[in-house]
């Protein structure tokens, strides 16, 4: 503060003291005060639970008591500003904890319910002629791999070339329009992508058609924007010095792009593509209306209906037939397989980017 003695305390000082006696130093709560409050509140809540209070109501009460408790205590000892700070800390932490509850519950449910049918037969048998127990998702896994592979085959080249256009060539109105529309495409509901494929093929081949390639087209619409976005980000962070060095050596633009720009960002591109596959492989809705469902293996995406893992899981759950238990078990097992595939792809993507990205030296 200033050295002038006419005003001994600045505004900050009086505010901090927060009371009529500016000499009083605010106290301090013991370390781990938040845990103490939480412990007391939980203990009281557990006691009330034994007396038979509504658990949901009690949970709400626990949160309120926890946040309110730390606020009151801190306000009495430390003053209003610190109290507010502690209250916000409690609120943020609590909201994080509450948000974790459904996610943890979800993971636990899928793993525990899904692991019941995680046996060899599930991966080697199809549902052809299976009623009741047994059967597997072999046909669905094959179908998912074919359809997703086709979608990747179509959308990866288009996506990469679009990103190259946007970063290396794009200027003016067309580039702006593409950027905007890629952003918009990111938000297309998956069912609308499925309807697009249906409408397209219905016009070409007549109503009621279901083909593997239709599903691939629907997934392509969902996948392209993700690929474009991630590749674009990767190309943008390639240092301009590399391009300039290449041009200075007399290398043509397209070879610079292929050999220098894409080569430098190949790890990031692989990561982005893997993540985009992870994003579409779990899509149910578009496949539900484009692939239909069958019980046997169909290897030809241009002929007839195909099974896929998410649709298989969906139908096993909503239409379990005469003996529901085995069918619902299969639904959970398929959901678990699907989730494991997605997780594995995501982790794999991280691994690629960790191992192969250019090291900054």
């Amino acid at each position: 503060m200033t050295t002038s003695t006419s005003e001994p305390t600045g505004t900050v000082g009086t505010e901090k003291a927060g009371g009529p006696s500016p000499a009083r130093r605010p106290g301090k709560l013991p370390p781990r005060a938040a845990w103490i409050v939480l412990g007391v509140a939980t203990a009281v809540a557990l006691l009330l639970l034994l007396t038979g209070t509504n658990p949901a109501l009690l949970a709400v009460g626990l949160v309120v008591a926890n946040v309110g408790g730390i606020y009151m205590w801190s306000r009495l000892v430390e003053g209003p500003r610190a109290a507010k700070d502690r209250m916000v800390t409690a609120i943020v932490t609590t909201s994080f904890a509450i948000a974790m509850i459904p996610l943890v519950s979800l993971l636990y449910t899928v793993v525990s319910r899904g692991s019941e049918r995680m046996d060899g037969a599930f991966f080697t048998n199809s549902m052809l002629g299976v009623v009741g127990e047994g059967g597997g998702a072999y046909h669905a896994i094959i179908g998912t791999l074919i359809v997703t592979g086709l979608a990747a085959l179509i959308s990866v080249p288009i996506g990469i070339m679009t990103a190259v256009y946007l970063v290396e060539y794009g200027k003016g109105r067309l580039a702006r329009a593409i950027t905007f529309l890629v952003d918009v495409m990111t938000g297309i509901p998956s069912i609308v992508a499925g309807l697009f494929a249906v409408a397209l093929f219905q016009l070409l081949f007549g109503p009621g058609i279901r083909l593997g390639i239709m599903g691939a087209v629907a997934l392509t619409v969902l996948m392209i924007p993700v690929v474009v976005r991630s590749v674009e980000e990767m190309l943008k962070i390639v240092p301009n010095e590399l391009r300039e060095a290449s041009y200075a050596l007399g290398v043509s633009k397209w070879r610079t792009i292929v050999k220098v720009v894409l080569r430098t960002s190949v790890a990031g591109i692989a990561t982005g593509i893997t993540l985009s596959i992870a994003r579409v492989i779990g899509e149910t809705a578009p496949l539900l209306i484009t692939l239909g469902a069958v019980t046997g293996v169909n290897l030809n995406p241009f002929d007839g209906r195909m099974a896929s893992l998410p649709v298989f899981s969906y139908y096993s759950y909503v239409a379990p037939g005469a003996s529901p238990e085995p069918s619902i078990d299969r639904a959970w097992a398929a959901a678990l397989v699907l989730m494991l595939i997605v997780m594995a792809l995501s982790l794999f993507a991280r691994l690629i980017s960790y191992l192969f990205s250019p090291k900054t030296r």
């Binding site: 943020v92 994080f96 938000g187 509901p189 609308v192 249906v198 539900l288």
Partner: protein, 321 residues
């Protein structure tokens, strides 16, 4: 193409000879790139065009031919209402929690824990919606039955909780909550990214002036991150509007308009209705479903365009560039 594969570091004397071939390669490559970019425009235009072509028959058809026999507006209206209702519940529930989670990861959690939590949220965002739906219908729905009963008994005067409460728990409230769980990782991921970009100097300046952590966040982080919160919420809203299979698993079909969130009879969303009815539909019913998909497309288009507009307005703060 083989003519373009001249070694780039050819001696200067041959430069004249390689020049034309280089131009061919450049032109071809630029053409492919531009073509791929233009294809995006074509695809998006195609989505709208094909939906329109296949949807129009239902829109112009005589009312008694459309499912429900009262014309397309009476068919799609309640579904649009249900879509909005479910998405609104999801947004109202998920936004505060999403911001809370983002703040926790960016400013409250220990640094070492924070990065792992960030990865975890990204993983959760990738979980297929089918899994969320199965969880919602088997775990969350039964768990809400006593609470819904309590709400109907004690807060029944509020139209949302008018009751009688559903005995299966497969209600609009549960659908909204599942959607909230699904979009929470999106909202928190976008918000977190923006929170982390708050200039360190602003934060340190606030702390150096004696601000508590909350005051620092209120004065430095939140004003900076407001656009991130809004755009994250809008992107989440877009996903909630279009979410299909999770809602289709939880709600079963009655296209009625009701504000009662916990009753046995619910509104249905456009997307869920398509998934439920499409496999069994034929003829004009298919056209009606496609037309309702067009409505959904337009709504999500507007929401997403709005979100992008907000993000782009603050482009200078975003990660790229």
């Amino acid at each position: 193409m083989s003519t373009t594969l001249e070694p780039p570091a050819s001696p200067p004397g041959t430069a004249v000879k390689t020049k034309p071939s280089r131009q061919v390669g450049d032109r071809v490559f630029a053409g492919i790139a531009t073509g791929a970019g233009s294809l995006i425009l074509v695809v998006l235009a195609g989505v709208a065009a094909f939906l329109l072509v296949e949807g129009i028959p239902a829109i112009v058809a005589p009312p008694e031919d459309v499912p429900g026999e009262n014309g397309f507006v009476a068919f799609a209206g309640p579904l649009l209402f249900g879509t909005m209702l479910a998405a609104t519940i999801a947004l109202v529930v998920a936004t505060p929690f999403g911001v809370g989670v983002a703040l926790f990861i960016s400013h409250f959690a220990p640094r070492r824990l924070a990065q792992g939590l960030g990865y975890l949220m990204d993983l959760l965002a990738a979980i297929p919606s089918l899994v969320y739906g199965l969880w919602g219908v088997t775990v969350l729905a039964p768990a809400t039955v006593p609470s819904a009963q309590w709400l109907a008994d004690n807060l029944g005067f509020i139209p949302f909780f008018a009751g009688p409460a559903s005995t299966t728990g497969r209600t609009m409230l549960v659908a909204g909550l599942v959607l909230a769980v699904m979009i929470l990782p999106i909202i928190s991921a976008v918000s977190r990214e923006v929170f982390l970009q708050t200039p360190q100097l602003h934060e340190e300046a606030a702390l150096a002036l004696g601000a508590t952590r909350w005051e620092m966040i209120k004065m430095a982080v939140l004003p900076f991150g407001r656009s991130g919160i809004i755009s994250g919420a809008m992107l989440g809203l877009g996903r909630a509007l279009g979410e299909t299979i999770a809602v289709a698993l939880i709600l079963s079909g009655l296209g009625i308009i009701t504000f009662n969130l916990i009753g046995g009879q619910n509104s249905l969303t456009i997307a869920a209705n398509i998934a439920l009815d499409f496999p069994e539909s034929s003829g004009l019913a298919v056209n009606a479903l496609i037309a309702s998909g067009l409505v959904l497309f337009l709504v999500t288009f507007l929401v997403n365009a709005f979100a992008r507009y907000i993000i782009n307005r603050r482009r200078e703060f975003s990660g790229a560039n």
